[in-house]
């Protein structure tokens, strides 16, 4: 294996990394801070705290996978790198949830889109949730700092045709479009971001903050599930954790006790509320797990006259915000338009069908283009979000009812996306919906989409962005943590991930998570080093 790989090199140099799947006896370990989760929030936190000289232990349920494992293979990657082997859905099964489960979290498998939190969103938060400290001008330096740390910049290479069709359609109709900033360094423009970057170009947590933390003596356990934070009087005393067995998903029976002065939870918008609920932490106003947001996603597919090859090239490079804030921040739901990459497994799983019809659709994959709409949920009384609760076995599950308000936006988005695809020259367009046929022109599509039933299961919905469930806010009756991620009721607990967002973001959330975690970790480091 290449000695140029930074993870392989770090491991060889003596990083303190433990594969919990290989442990054969129970252990107790101790540090200044235990950080639960190694994604955008956990990685950032661990690096900043470790650089301030604090001893840090990182806990990750998924495995440590890196370049040697990233072989551009969908099946292997979906099984190993995604939550529930890519089978995670909302409670009723109607919305597929794409979420990372590995060192680096979702940043290891995301499509590299790197947006600042829209100023409209930050302003709304300061007005509605008392988060004055997060106003756009206060957050700007934090965004800038993280853009540098993760090498984020607008994509300089020409977009692939899959993305360019979104640009062409928007141009033809007079809709705005922009180039997407991406967190890559020396990108090969290959299109495999979603299965683990094979070239080490993606500057996610895996190649930035995780090595940064480990270089500064942090310890990392992977294959270790955080089960329960255990209180002693008014403080968390320790974390109880279960090692996974050889398959990576079934506990082996080995348990680890992690003691610390402070605990940072960054286990995702499903995992973090799950952990807090399992731990039965103080929650006098029953806010844990509430107001969970997902940027509900719907899609259309188009058949183009020339080859699109939607499996090759930077997966996301063009977006349109034409409809995102069109009706203001809290009017009819806004949505961002983007493009998904389509590899055969993903395409076959996402576009519903079987038999000869399915084969016929899939056989035209090289000519297939797709547009997705990401709905900005949580800004309207009729978009209260979903709820994370626990199953009987203690695992978290998200119930997300799609309200009429959202259905209206979903229908409107189908219409906009189809119109854009026809304007870019599509020969036929299909809504990704069980009742949609292929429409051969815009008028036909428009009439048919107006009649499609907007119902769970019929409309195929997805989410790659999970947010909320441990909302931040100034009022403890309405939130779980304050604007610094500090728990309202437990002094030595912080939450540093997307679960603290009080609404959705209105853009792909990784930079929002990085920036807020950086800001709150700098403050936490000051607090903790002043004490010791």
């Amino acid at each position: 294996m290449s000695t140029n790989d930074p993870i392989a090199r770090g491991l060889a140099s003596g990083w303190n990394v433990i594969d919990a799947r290989k442990l054969t006896s129970n252990q107790t370990v101790e540090a200044d801070v235990v950080v639960i989760g190694t994604g955008a929030g956990g990685g950032t936190t661990a690096e900043i705290l470790a650089k301030q000289g604090l001893s840090v232990i990182l806990v990750e349920e998924g495995g440590l996978y890196y370049q040697k494992d990233f072989k551009m293979d969908e099946q292997a990657s979906y099984a190993a790198l995604y939550q529930e082997g890519m089978s995670r859905t909302t409670a009723d099964g109607a919305i597929a949830i794409l979420q990372g489960r590995c060192v680096g979290g979702s940043t290891t498998v995301n499509w590299t889109s790197s947006f600042r939190t829209p100023p409209e969103t930050l302003t709304y938060w300061s007005q509605k949730f008392g988060l004055d400290g997060l106003a756009p001008e206060s957050m700007a330096p934090w965004f800038q700092g993280r853009e540098e740390r993760h090498t984020m910049a607008p994509w300089q290479t020409d977009p692939n045709l899959n993305n360019d069709i979104l640009r062409q359609g928007c141009d033809a109709l007079g809709y705005s479009w922009q180039i997407i900033p991406r967190n890559v360094k020396g990108c090969w423009n290959s299109g495999y971001c979603g299965v683990g970057c094979p070239t080490n170009a993606k500057q996610g947590a895996l190649l930035t903050t995780i090595p940064g933390a480990l270089d500064n003596k942090a310890q990392m356990f992977h294959g270790l599930r955080a089960e329960r934070l255990v209180m002693n009087q008014d403080r968390i005393d320790h974390l109880q954790a279960s090692a996974m067995g050889a398959d990576g998903v079934t506990p082996s029976g080995i348990t680890i006790t992690l003691k610390a002065n402070h605990f940072v939870v960054a286990a995702s918008a499903i995992g973090s509320p799950g952990l807090l609920l399992r731990s039965e932490l103080p929650d006098p106003y029953q806010r844990i797990g509430k107001r969970s947001f997902i940027h509900p996603v719907n899609a259309t597919v188009a058949r183009m006259p020339s080859k699109v090859d939607p499996f090759y090239g930077a997966p996301q490079s063009i977006y349109s915000d034409e409809f995102n804030f069109k009706h203001g921040i809290d009017g009819p739901v806004g949505y961002k338009l983007e493009v998904p990459p389509l590899h055969p497994g993903m395409a076959a799983g996402v576009v519903p069908g079987h038999g000869k019809g399915q084969l016929n659709n899939l056989s035209k994959l090289p000519w297939t283009q797709s547009v997705i709409a990401l709905l900005r949920d949580g800004f309207h009384p009729e978009s209260p979000g979903g709820t994370v609760t626990l199953r009987d076995d203690g695992s978290p599950i998200l119930d997300y009812p799609v309200t009429d308000y959202l259905w209206k936006g979903i229908r409107q988005a189908y219409l906009n996306m189809a119109e854009i695809q026809f304007a870019a020259g599509a020969e036929a367009v299909q809504a990704v919906h069980l009742d949609s046929g292929w429409y051969s022109n815009w008028n036909e599509a428009k009439a048919a989409i107006q009649e499609l039933p907007m119902k769970p299961h019929r409309a195929r919905l997805f989410t790659a962005h999970q947010m909320g469930g441990c909302s931040m806010g100034s009022n403890p009756e309405e939130s779980v943590v304050n604007g610094f991620g500090e728990h309202h009721h437990v002094a030595n607990l912080s939450i540093h991930d997307a679960s603290v967002f009080p609404t959705s973001i209105g853009a792909n959330p990784q930079l929002s998570v990085y920036a807020l975690a950086a800001r709150n970790s700098v403050r936490l480091a000051q607090r903790l080093t002043a004490k010791s």
């Binding site: 551009m72 107001r291 055969p344 519903p352 949580g378 709820t387």
Partner: protein
């Protein structure tokens, strides 16, 4: 402040009472939970099949099934010719090999789903394997080994077009698992026109060397 009572999907208000029982995961889980217990009591094979004899099945005798039971395998052997119509090889031996390969990958995939989703799938498969529910909910009259490709296709279409969300969900689960296991595999990429990872990358990346 912004919180409101949930579940106001008023699109579904008409004719909701009967459907909503099956539609909500609560009703669904309740129903399916009962079936899982009955299926176990009535002698349905719900234990992982382990090694399956190669004779007749075309299975790789060294593969150890970790989730799919013998009944699940019979179910998928009946469904796959309809699910993958036109995509499976026509030559009977070749077709059986392709089905057996796909079954192994389905099994491997489900292992990584983890316990909670495995439990959901167990309920779905038991429902389809337990004769009384197979007849009433799937309207499939014979045991799966006797089901023709045409009948299997009709069943899939019924669940796909059903107005009952839970059955749509069952269709999606069966088709998604099969589609990803089949079309996502290298040996079937050609059917989608996907050439695979670019050769120039495979040739120059360290993870593909000295494999």
């Amino acid at each position: 402040m912004l919180d409101k009572p949930q579940n106001q999907t008023a699109d579904n208000k008409t004719g909701q009472s009967r459907r909503s029982f099956l539609k909500t995961s609560f009703g669904g889980a309740l129903l399916l939970g009962t079936i899982s217990v009955s299926a176990g009591l009535s002698g349905c094979a719900t234990a992982p099949a382990g090694r399956v004899s190669a004779v007749g099945s075309r299975m790789n005798a060294s593969y150890q099934f970790q989730f799919l039971s013998k009944d699940d395998i019979a179910l998928f052997e009946a469904l796959l010719p309809a699910m993958l119509a036109g995509a499976l090889p026509e030559e009977p031996n070749q077709q059986q090999f392709a089905i057996a390969d796909t079954l192994e990958r389905i099994d491997q995939g489900i292992v990584k789903f983890g316990a909670p989703n495995q439990k959901e799938l167990r309920k779905l498969f038991d429902l389809l394997n337990f004769a009384p529910t197979r007849v009433t909910l799937a309207r499939v009259w014979s045991d799966w080994p006797a089901v023709t490709t045409q009948e299997a296709d009709a069943f899939l279409n019924r669940w796909r077009s059903s107005r009952i969300g839970l059955l749509n969900n069952g269709y999606m689960a069966l088709s998604k698992i099969t589609n990803v296991a089949f079309y996502g595999h290298e040996s079937h990429w050609h059917l989608t026109g996907y050439p695979g990872p670019p050769a120039w990358m495979v040739d120059s990346l360290p993870q593909f060397q000295n494999a």
